[in-house]
């Protein structure tokens, strides 16, 4: 059935395309120009619905346009110098009001059914909170206490055309969301700053991530693999650079992964206790900075004033360590600077602050003080 539909759709597209002059081999495969069927029951239902309405539209269009083009060729002034004078017909008017209405009902019934199915928001076997940030996603596994951020991993040099672009250009991240196959996973979607939207085409999930609201969506992926999507609500400068990548794995692979994530957390705790040298911190901080801060403050620390201030030569970064820590931990009210308290571990937080206080001549021109992980742990302790 689907094969047939696909073939049909292929020819319909070709027929519809006005520029059939173009050698179609030059262009991507026609199938790649349609909606994806995806890997869940819901996504297949949605695809079927899409093809159904598409063909209904094509059929209506074929009827209307053939009458129209027939008239345009048959009733030119040359062929029909004396126009008819009819200009009313209640019967016709009623017919072309009622018939479309019935067709619409035929479309509304399956659409409403699929929608109801999508809206079933029972708990999942696994529940994951998805949080949108300018410009990255955070995933929190509610049962397993795992959480991490997922950033675009495409190199800036690819974006600025300095090196060739990789296969998954703009659709790759440093750490994808991982879920097990054949398992009901429920997503609780929200945002931290502006509105984002979390889209995975192969699951037919697109839900807005809105600060102050929690939206839900669910899926049960039937095939393992890597599924790529995007942020689909304009969220500022790097809206185009915060992809969604979901990796669906076998169930036992998933439990192994959960274990390894937990071990990682323990190791991180040990790192926090360790004595850090200035050089070690600065080096680690540079990596953290590249991942989290360059988008706004730029690699050279000059920022993009006035919205994104410079860190190089900043009074706070050079002379006010306490305020420096506070800004990173709390964010700046009313500005694009968010809190990084939940995004960075104590080690990374201390490292990145230290890096910015050392780089671009800030250490030489400022007080040269730096921050160690235990400072951050101290800061986080409830204040009495």
């Amino acid at each position: 059935m689907f094969k047939k539909i696909n073939n049909l759709s292929k020819s319909a597209y070709v027929a519809l395309f006005m520029l059939s002059l173009y050698p179609s081999k030059v262009f991507s495969d026609w199938d790649a120009l349609n909606m994806r069927e995806g890997v869940t029951q819901v996504s297949r239902d949605v695809f079927e619905l899409h093809m159904l309405i598409f063909y209904i539209c094509v059929a209506i269009g074929a009827v209307v346009f053939s009458v129209m083009f027939y008239s345009l060729f048959r009733y030119t002034k040359k062929r029909n110098p004396n126009p008819s004078t009819f200009h009313e017909s209640t019967k016709l008017e009623v017919a072309w009001t009622v018939v479309p209405f019935l067709i619409l009902i035929a479309m509304a019934v399956p659409a409403s059914k699929t929608l109801t199915e999508i809206y079933d928001d029972e708990e999942g076997e696994i529940n994951i909170q998805v949080v949108g940030y300018q410009w990255k996603w955070e995933y929190k596994y509610l049962e397993d206490d795992i959480n991490f951020f997922s950033n675009l991993s495409t190199d800036q040099d690819e974006i600025y055309n300095l090196v060739p672009k990789g296969e998954n250009y703009l659709l790759e991240v440093d750490e994808p969301l991982i879920i097990p196959v054949d398992t009901r996973v429920r997503f609780l979607i929200t945002a931290n700053d502006v509105i984002h939207s979390w889209w995975v085409p192969d699951f037919a999930i697109k839900q807005d991530a809105i600060p102050g609201f929690i939206n839900t969506a669910w899926t049960r992926a039937e095939e393992t693999g890597i599924y790529r999507g995007n942020c689909t609500e304009l969220c500022g400068k790097n809206h185009g650079f915060m992809p969604v990548v979901v990796k669906v794995v076998e169930k036992d692979e998933y439990s192994d992964w959960v274990l390894s994530k937990k071990e990682e957390a323990i190791k991180l705790a040990e790192l926090t206790e360790k004595e850090w040298s200035l050089a070690e911190l600065t080096q680690r901080g540079e990596g953290v900075y590249q991942k989290n801060c360059v988008a706004c403050h730029q690699m050279n620390g000059e920022g993009l004033p006035p919205i994104f201030p410079a860190l190089a030569g900043s009074d706070i970064v050079m002379f006010d360590k306490d305020r420096n820590v506070e800004i990173l931990m709390e964010g700046v009210q009313g500005a694009a600077m968010q809190s990084f308290a939940n995004q960075l571990s104590e080690v990374d937080m201390a490292a990145v602050i230290t890096y910015t206080r050392q780089a671009w001549g800030n250490a030489e021109n400022g007080d040269g003080e730096y921050v160690v992980p235990s400072d951050i742990v101290e800061y986080k302790k409830p204040k009495i």
Binding site: V64, P81, H87, G229, L234
Partner: protein, 527 residues
Amino acid sequence: MSSVIESHHDDHHHGPAKGLMRWLLTTNHKDIGTLYLWFSFAMFLIGGAMAMVIRAELFQPGMQIVEPEFYNQMLTLHGLIMVFGAVMPAFVGLANWLVPMMVGAPDMALPRLNNLSFWLLPFAFGILLSSLFMEGGAPNFGWTFYAPLSTTYAPPSVTFFIFSVHIMGASSIMGSINVIVTIMNMRAPGMDLMKMPLFVWSWLITAYLLIAVMPVLAGAVTMMLMDIHFGTSFFNAAGGGDPVLFQHIFWFFGHPEVYIMILPAFGIVSHIIETFSRKQLFGYSSMVWAMLSIAILSFVVWAHHMFTVGMPLAAELFFMWATMLIAVPTGVKVFNWVATMFKGSITYETPMLFAISFVVLFTIGGFSGLMLSIVPADFQYHDTYFVVAHFHYVLVPGSIFSIMAAVYYWIPKWTGNMYDERMGRLHFWLSFVGVNVTFFPQHWIGLAGMPRRYPDYALQFADWNMVSTAGAFLFGASQILFLFIVLKTVMGGKKATPQVWEGARGLEWSVESPAPYHTFSTPPKVN
């Protein structure tokens, strides 16, 4: 604009003043119509230049000519300028020129208000455009300016944007009041409502829509202003506000707004098809009822722009069904146009070419609209290029083609000169090809998964983006030809007869070409 002939009969009336003052102080509906049309054309070129920046950046994957931040500014200004600066003022200009002549009135009912509503516009857009040179750049949050991106996270120029929207709104409301008062009070004796030309009907309905929703837009931007400067939290979740409320308010304005941009087009196209088919319009009264029901329905479908914000199931179902319902009266209009052409006696002058392609391409936009109304499918379409293709199909070969058709159709009446038919047809074909090459492939890249408002994209979308950009530059360049044709017609050309077109009916064709500076100082008889 044209050499204006004094009307011989009423020598107590003055002709136009001379020089710049004529245009600054004029209260004449024809002068003001001309001002609106030229203003809108200027905005069309500016907004178009921004579209070229957008398409040039999208020619290839990777960032080439602008930074993402500036790209967003172009995107935002392009949308705002085209909607509020090009399409809406063009229709107001046409209303100014045509409504009084079509209903047999000597002028608009409120001529001084008319002058004011035009002269507000250059200031509104001057302010908006000046934001490009401000610290932090122009508005960058899209023409839909969703909070909190447009409030807490906006560049400082957002305050100027708000002020400029207020001025545009004031201008639109004044213009609408003028249209309504004129139509309600100044029709020639014998012209009942159900005898009014369809363009007049379409504008009567549009004007009511405008009065209903422009204050809502003003409310939305005022709440933004309060959030930004006076510490309120209408749209700020951290302060107990609701960012989704913004979208409800915006689209309560926004959906009727899209019909504001298409109803006058329905009127124009009906006149043109009737004239060049040499046959009375099929189903006049059902055309009127269709427009009325579209207008009423347009108030209860706004949330179809928000299917993914997480509304309850009942709301999603309601807005889906209501949106699908709009397809019925829209279909009725298309069927009536086709029935008008059926057994007509058709010729293909430029206005007719634009009108025919309006019917075909607007219908394609209607189809994609219908697809978008199906909520589960919209979860996949929403905020992709499929939506971009949809609304450009209804707005470019829809609204904008209807405006061009109107210019070709009535310019002999305005200037007394015929335009160059061969160049007109060339302009049509270039625009037609350009529009389709630009926007048709966007359906595919949208379905394949390219999100809208992206300055850069994954490699699989590269081929068709390149095609789309080529089409856009073709379309853009053809509009220079349009400018040239219009200027040439203003300066001279074959003299037009009063009726101009063989099949034309209506009061505006009963006066000389060019129409005298004052028409219908005594009301004509309508039978």
